[in-house]
C-alpha cells in the first residue's frame, strides 16, 4: 500500500498561482472556493531580500485532527493516507475548519458543504499525478509514494532535507517544503 505525499520546493515556486486554477478547474470549484491558498514570506534586509510563496492545501496528516472531530464521520483517512470527504455526509458544522492548522478547508458557497484537496486521488489511481503537480510550470511540486525509496519524492526528500509546517503539533503532515 502506497503512502502518498507531496514535496513543494519554495525556491522553484514563482507564485504564478497556476496550481490553484488547475485545481479549481479539476474540481469544478467556483471562483470563491479553492483547495489551495498561499502564504508569503519575506526574508533578508534591503537590498538583499527574498520573497517566497508557500502554496498551502490539505496536508493529509497521518493523525489528521479533522477526522476525529467530524460528528458525521464524513472525514475518513484512506489506507493510502489520503484524507477524503464524503460530501453526502457533511452537514457543514465547520468543526474541521476550526481544528485544521493549515486552514485547508473551504466551505462551498452554494451547498455549505466543507471540502478540500484529496490529492486528485481519482487521477492518481489511474496512474496520473494531481492537477496541481502536472500543471506546475517550474516543477516545484513532486508527488508520490513516501514509502517507496526509489520514488522521485523519497529521493528528493532524502537529498533536500525539506521541512514540514507546524510539525510541532504532532499531526504528521505529508506535504514537505524545501526552503
Amino acid at each position: 500500500m502506497p503512502r502518498y505525499g507531496m514535496l513543494i520546493d519554495t525556491n522553484k515556486c514563482v507564485g504564478c498561482f497556476a496550481c490553484r486554477v488547475a485545481c479549481q478547474m479539476q474540481n469544478s470549484l467556483t471562483p470563491e472556493n479553492s483547495f489551495i491558498r498561499y502564504e508569503e514570506k519575506e526574508t533578508g534586509k534591503y537590498p538583499n531580500v527574498k520573497w517566497k510563496v508557500y502554496p498551502i492545501q490539505c496536508h493529509h496528516c497521518e493523525t489528521a485532527p479533522c477526522a476525529p472531530v467530524c460528528p458525521t464521520k464524513a472525514r475518513q483517512i484512506r489506507p493510502d493516507g489520503v484524507v477524503v470527504v464524503n460530501s453526502k455526509k457533511c452537514i457543514g458544522c465547520k468543526y474541521c475548519v476550526a481544528v485544521c492548522p493549515y486552514q485547508a478547508n473551504t466551505v462551498n458557497s452554494k451547498t455549505g458543504e466543507v471540502d478540500k484537496c484529496r490529492f486528485c486521488i481519482e487521477i492518481v489511481e489511474q496512474g496520473g499525478t494531481p492537477a496541481c503537480v502536472s500543471t506546475c510550470l517550474t516543477h516545484a511540486r513532486i508527488f508520490g509514494d513516501l514509502d517507496d525509496p526509489n520514488s522521485k519524492i523519497a529521493k528528493a526528500i532524502a537529498a533536500k532535507k525539506p521541512k514540514a509546517l507546524a510539525a510541532n503539533l504532532g499531526t504528521k503532515p505529508k506535504i514537505y517544503y524545501v526552503e
Binding site: 502564504e39 514570506k41 508557500y54 498551502i56 485532527p65 476525529p68 472531530v69 467530524c70 460528528p71 458525521t72 464521520k73 464524513a74 460530501s87 453526502k88 455526509k89 457533511c90 452537514i91 457543514g92 458544522c93 465547520k94 468543526y95 475548519v97 476550526a98 481544528v99 485544521c100 492548522p101 493549515y102 486552514q103 466551505v107 462551498n108 451547498t111 455549505g112 458543504e113 466543507v114 509546517l165 507546524a166 503539533l169
Partner: protein, 308 residues
C-alpha cells in the same frame, strides 16, 4: 471567523438554559422556604425553550445539514470521539430533562431527586461542553486553553441566574426582597468570571497565535467591544450594582429588625419594588449582554497558528 454570530447565540442560549435549570433546582432543593417560588417556577419553565431554540441556531449555522436534513441522522456517528457528537447527545438529553422539569414546575410540583441530580450533572456538562468544543482545537491557540470551559460554565450560571431573576421578579415583584441568597452566589460568579477572563488572556498572551488574539481584544479591532461591552457593561456595571444592593439589603434587614418606619404605606412599598425592579433590569440585563458579548468575542478573536 470560523464560527460567527449564530454559534455565539447558540453557546449563549445553551449557557443560560443550563444556568436557569441549575438555579431552579437549587431553589427547589436548598432554598424552598425563602419566598423564591416564582423564580424557581419560571427558571425551570424557561430552560426547555432556551435549549431547544439554541440547537436550532446550531443547525442553521450548519448549512449543508440545513439543506439536507436527512444528513443530521449521522450526527451521533462519531460519539464519543467528536465533541460535536457528545454535545448533540448532551443537548438532546438535556431537552428531555428540562421538558420534564418544566412540566413539574407548571403543575407546581418538584422534580424527583434522581432527576435533579441527573439534570444538574447534564446542565454543568452542557456549559463545560460549550467551552470544550472550542478548547479541542490546537490550530487556534486562544481556544486551546483549559480555562475556557470553566469560564463558559461560570458565565452560563451567571447569565442563567440573571435571566431567571428578571422573569421571576417580573412575575412577582415581592420576591425582590428575598433575592439575597441568589445575589450572593451571583456576585461571586461575576467576580470569578473577571478573574477567569484575566487568567485566560494572560495564558493565551504567552503563546504564538494566542498573543494575536489577545492583542485583537485589548488594543485591536475588537477592543471597543471588549472594554466597553464585556468589561464595562458585562462585568463592572453589574458588580457595582449588585454590591450596592447587597450592602443596601443589609441595611434594610437592620431596619426590619427593629427600626422599621411604621408610616410606610403600601403605595411607597410598591414604588420601591418598581424602582428595585428597574435597577435589577439594568444589572441583570447587563449580565446577559455581557454573556453574549463574551461568547461573540471568543469566537471573533480566534487566530490560527502561524505556519511559516
Amino acid at each position: 471567523m470560523v464560527w460567527g454570530t449564530l454559534v455565539a447565540i447558540y453557546l449563549f442560549m445553551a449557557g443560560i438554559a443550563a444556568g436557569t435549570y441549575l438555579l431552579g433546582t437549587i431553589i427547589e432543593t436548598f432554598w424552598s422556604n425563602r419566598g423564591l417560588e416564582m423564580i424557581r417556577k419560571y427558571s425551570l419553565i424557561l430552560s426547555f425553550p432556551l435549549v431547544a431554540i439554541s440547537s436550532i441556531f446550531l443547525v442553521v449555522d450548519a448549512e449543508a445539514g440545513l439543506h439536507n436534513p436527512l444528513r443530521l441522522i449521522y450526527i451521533l456517528a462519531n460519539f464519543p470521539n467528536s465533541m460535536m457528537s457528545v454535545g448533540t447527545l448532551i443537548i438532546a438529553s438535556f431537552q428531555i430533562i428540562t421538558l420534564y422539569a418544566a412540566w413539574r414546575a407548571l403543575y407546581s410540583k418538584n422534580q424527583s431527586a434522581v432527576m435533579r441530580i441527573i439534570g444538574s450533572v447534564m446542565a454543568v456538562g452542557l456549559t463545560v461542553y460549550t467551552g470544550l468544543l472550542l478548547q479541542v482545537s490546537q490550530a487556534i491557540p486562544f481556544w486551546h486553553n483549559d480555562i475556557l470551559p470553566i469560564l463558559f460554565t461560570v458565565s452560563g450560571i451567571s447569565t442563567g441566574f440573571a435571566a431567571a431573576i428578571i422573569i421571576g421578579v417580573y412575575a412577582d415583584r415581592r420576591q425582590l426582597a428575598n433575592l439575597m441568597p441568589i445575589k450572593k452566589v451571583h456576585i461571586l460568579c461575576l467576580l470569578a468570571e473577571g478573574l477567569l477572563l484575566i487568567a485566560l488572556l494572560s495564558n493565551a498572551g504567552k503563546i504564538d497565535g494566542g498573543a494575536q488574539s489577545v492583542a485583537k481584544l485589548l488594543t485591536g479591532s475588537l477592543s471597543p467591544l471588549f472594554w466597553g461591552g464585556l468589561v464595562t457593561v458585562g462585568l463592572v456595571l453589574p458588580i457595582i450594582i449588585e454590591a450596592y444592593e447587597l450592602f443596601k439589603n443589609h441595611n434594610v434587614i437592620a431596619i426590619n429588625n427593629g427600626l422599621h418606619p411604621a408610616d410606610e404605606t403600601a403605595a411607597t412599598i410598591d414604588s420601591e419594588l418598581n424602582s428595585g425592579f428597574s435597577l435589577l433590569l439594568v444589572s441583570e440585563g447587563a449580565v446577559l449582554l455581557g454573556g453574549f458579548i463574551l461568547r461573540y468575542l471568543v469566537l471573533a478573536a480566534a487566530t490560527f497558528i502561524s505556519l511559516i
